[in-house]
Structure formats: C-alpha cells, structure tokens
C-alpha cells in the first residue's frame, strides 16, 4: 500500500515536470507545425538563468519568496528574448517549408545555442539547491515528501488549467484555435497569422525556460541537460498527440506513472520504459492518443 502511494506521488511529481516541459513544445507544434528541437535550449537557458538568480539572491538573508520570484522572472525573460530572436531572426524565413526541414532548422539553432550557453556561463556546473532546502519537507504517513515537489504538482496543475482557460475562454485563445484548425482560412477571416506565430513561439519559449527554472534546484545545472529533455518532451508529446494540450497532460501522466512504477519495481528498465511506452502507443494510435488520423490527400 505504501509502495503504491509512493509510486503515485513519485509519478505525479515526474508527470508534473514532464508536463511543464512538454506543454511549450506541443503548443508550438500545434499552431506552427514546427517540431522545435531548440526547446531543449530554452530549457537550458531557463535552468542556467534560475541558477544564476539563486546564486545572486539566496544566502543573503532576504525573504525567500523573492528568490522564487526572481528565478521565474529571470528565466522567463531569457525565454522571451531567446524566443523573439529565434522567431524573428531565423524561423520566419522557413515558414511553409517541409515540417522536417523546419525541425532541422531548430536543430541547427539548438546546436548553436548549446555553445552560446558555454560562452555565457562557462563549462562548469551550477548547483541551485537552496530553494529546495528552504521549502522544507512534509511527512505523510511514513513518507517524507519535499514541499518543493508538491509545489511542482500544483504549478503543473495551474499551468494546465491556465492553458485550458486561455484556449477556450480568451480572445487570443479562440484566434489560436482558429489558426490551429486551418491557417489559410484563419488568415482569410482577418487573423494576423504572423503575429499569432510570433506570440505563440515566444510563449512556447517562455514555457520551456520556465520548465528549466523550476527544475534547476532538483538537478545539477550542467552542460547537456537540454539534450535529454528534448527526447523526453518528444516522447510525452508523441504519446498524447502532437499539438494537443490534453494530450500532453495525458502523456505526462502516463509516462510519469510508468516511470515511477518501474523505478520502484524493476529499476533496471527505467531508462527505456518511456520510449517503450511511446512505441507501444504509436503502434496502436499512430498519431497519438488525442489526435485524429489525417485524411490522405490525393
């Protein structure tokens, strides 16, 4: 019983992390049909930005809430700048090309940004554990849980709710939905698709950076963290269906619980269970759980 509860909590924490990372990716794909490899760079920049913020702020005796705020704000600002530069500087020149070509362009951007990280922050690794410590622990039954982890679940849930509300009940969300369904028709009805693209890309970038910022205290912020995150986020998004917010939510939950279960029960298969689940889901539903099959064009 304890085991099942531990699996559930671990799974939820991991799912929360995956959802935060995957949601920006799926948003950009849904609207722009770009499989954004540079999402890993957004994550990296967010994590490094947050680590810098922690270095600046904590251990100075200032109120801790400000530290959390600074982490998030700095990371999102980095995401904003980076997203704008990428979209305006590079991506807009390849709109309308093959999806695979656009993915490759973001791959090129990812390669470049990997080195930019070294240029800015150097090759060393950063520790940003202070927020994790200062959040403290809570005991539920025999389990000791970190408040930070529980906070992570809350943040993911809030993000999911915000996205749902934003897409369904705001003007911009309705515009986005129109563009997702049919770009040309949306443009014909007077929606400025260019602006929608820019805003979407920037929001996606900020969400990626936010993911990095939130995860920074839990990992060693070092080179190559983006490389792993990309494939994880791809797996989650592919399971749920690319471009679907509900899909990212379901995908993150499935992967999170599966991984937690294997970590507790069969630790030796932990590394590839995610991809095995992805392959399995794609075998049964080629386009993911929440996306209908595309009709073939003649």
């Amino acid at each position: 019983m304890l085991n099942a509860f531990a699996v559930l909590i671990d799974g939820l924490v991991y799912a929360a992390y995956l959802f935060i990372v995957a949601i920006g990716l799926t948003l950009i794909f849904g609207v722009m049909k770009i499989l954004n490899v540079a999402h890993g760079s957004f994550f990296t920049f967010g994590a490094y930005g947050a680590a810098s913020a922690v270095g600046i702020y904590f251990n100075r005796g200032l109120p801790e809430a400000g530290g959390y705020l600074l982490m998030v704000v700095l990371a999102m600002a980095l995401g904003l700048v980076l997203g704008l530069i990428l979209e305006r500087g590079i991506m807009r020149w390849v709109y309308g090309r093959d999806e695979v070509v656009m993915a490759l362009v973001t791959y090129a951007a990812f390669l470049i940004l990997e080195d930019v990280v070294i240029l800015i922050w150097g090759p060393g690794s950063y520790a940003a554990y202070q927020p994790l410590l200062s959040a403290g622990n809570i005991e539920i039954g025999e389990l000791i849980l970190s408040n930070y982890d529980l906070g992570l679940i809350a943040v993911a849930a809030m993000l999911a709710a915000a996205c749902y509300w934003g897409l369904k009940f705001t003007r911009y969300g309705r515009l986005l939905t129109a563009v997702i369904f049919d770009r040309e028709t949306a443009a014909a009805f007077g929606i400025n698709v260019r602006v929608v693209y820019t805003v979407t890309f920037v929001i996606g970038a900020m969400l990626g950076a936010l993911g990095g910022a939130i995860m920074a205290p839990k990992i060693a912020v070092t080179l190559g963290i983006g490389v792993e995150v990309i494939v994880l986020a791809f797996a989650v998004v592919a399971i749920g269906g690319m471009g679907s917010i509900e899909g990212a939510f379901a995908g993150a939950l499935i992967v999170g619980i599966c991984r937690a279960a294997t970590v507790h029960l069969f630790p030796q298969v932990e590394l590839f269970v995610i991809y095995a689940v992805m392959a399995l889901v794609l075998m049964i539903r080629p386009y993911g759980l929440f996306v209908r099959a595309q009709p073939r064009k003649i």
């Binding site: 020149w93 490759l104 070294i118 990309i230 494939v231 592919a238 590839f272 991809y275 073939r296 003649i298």
Partner: protein, 316 residues
Amino acid sequence: MVRGDRIAAGSAFLAAAVAGFMLPDWIISLATIAFANGLVVLGLIVMWRAGLVSFGQALYYCMGGYAVALIGRWGGVTDAFLLVLVGGLSAAGISFVIGFLLARYREIFFAMLSLALSMILYGLLVKTESLGSTDGLNVIVPTFLGYAPHQEKLIVALYFLVLVVCATAALLVGAYFRSLAGALAIPVRDNELRVEFLGMSVSRLIHTKLVISALLAGTGGALAALAVGHVDPNMSYWTTSGEFVFITILAGAGSVGAAFVGSLAFESVRSFAFAMLPQLWEILLGSVLLLTILFLPQGLGSLIERLHWGREAKAP
C-alpha cells in the same frame, strides 16, 4: 550512369586508393571513419529521396557496431569481411522486423518513432552490465582472410576495406536508384496515392528502402567499430542520428558520391574545429547547417550540378 560521371567516380576511387599509400596515418584514420559514416549517410539518402528523414538511424549504426564487438568476443570470429557482413545483416534483420511498423509512418511521425526506437536500444545498452553498460565494449583486432596486420599496416588495411565496401555500396545503390523501385522514390514523396493507383504497394517500397538503409547503416557501424576498436551506447544516442541527418542535408540527395564527400568534409571540419576552437565547434556546425538549409536547399552537391547545368546550357 552518364559516361562523364563514371569517369569521375572511377578517378575519385583511384585517387582515394593512391592516397592510402601516400598520406600520413592520422588522415587515413580520419578518412576511414568518414567513409564508414558515409555509408550511413548513403542510407539516409535512400530514404530521403522518398521524403523520409529518420532521426533514429543510429539504431542500426549501433547495432552493426555491437554485432561486430559481440561475435568477435563470444564467437571468436576475427575475419573483417565476415564481421562486417554480420554487422550489416543484423541491422538489416532488425529493420526488416520493425519495418512492418515503421513503414506505416511518414514525415515527422516517422522521424519521431525511429528516434524512440533508437533510444530504446540506448536505454537497453546502458542498463545491461554484460554488454559493458556505459563503458561499452572493446572490439577485437581484425584479420583479413588470414592476413593479420599490425599498427600502421592495420590502419591502411582497414582503409582499403572501407574503400572497397563503400565503392561496392555506391555501385549497388546507384543501380538501385536507376531501377524502377528506386525511381519510384520521388513519386512516393510527391504523392503516394497516385503511386498506389499505378498498382504499386507504397508500404512495400518504403519497407525495402528501410531495409536497404539499415543494411548500409549497420555496415557503416561495423566498419566504424573496427576502425575505432571500441563501441559504446552513445552510438545509439539521438545526437549521433542528428549528425548523420546533418551530413545528409549538407551533402544533398542529388548523388551517391555526395554522401562520401559530405561525410569526409564533416569529419575534417570536426577534427579541425575540435583542435582549433573547441568551444565554438557546435556554433560552427549549427551555422553551417542553417546556411545550407537557407541558401542551398539541395545540398552542397547541387553546387556541382549547377555548374554542370550551366555548361550544358551554354553548349549550342
């Protein structure tokens, strides 16, 4: 093949063979790896002509490498030809099986599923202690039909092995491109349904291409394993696949030779950049990829074709 192309290919092969006796060892080693990787790129070109880009080609590359390491270690086989054959065939066998699944996918979904499959192999290898886990395995020193060279002789012998395998592969793939099944690649990319209305099975065509490209990638992996003398799970990581796709974009799908020229260029630039500006290596790589996509969408090979075309246009 046009006569001019045949002469060009022949002289390039001869030049590469002569170079094997002339150039210093480190260049020969570099060229050996580059040509071995060129085989993988050639496989990617086979698929790319049909509009498919695999972000998981490292699966077959790694499979070929590990097959060589394992039968060398457990089976005691040392003959290089046999090892390479087994490496290629084991990759082809795997791709034949998963091809039944993979051949149903297109575009980005194809790229992602192949990526997932290669990451499964990566996870398996990392977690399996008997396969060396993250440290990988050493590969035995090969013999060539009984001939057992050492040191510099071995480097040259491996180079010639790679050269012969590449030339054979280039000829066969060239012939495949001119065959009906090969020529149908472009119609498949443009419009599958029309190809089916012509009475061909698109999924079978694509399945064949998958197996061919896996055979090439497995052979490349086997050769690379012999040349490096070591295999490790990173051969299957997605960044390895990314590099192959990178070279493919750089080379363009225009011709068979482009795969090897592109791979040689890539390896040269890489070892150069590693030595000169290790911190900026990926910036360089990314910028080249970006510029190629933006300004030379058909790859570097198209530059040569453009020159050709210009000449022909001028002729009365």
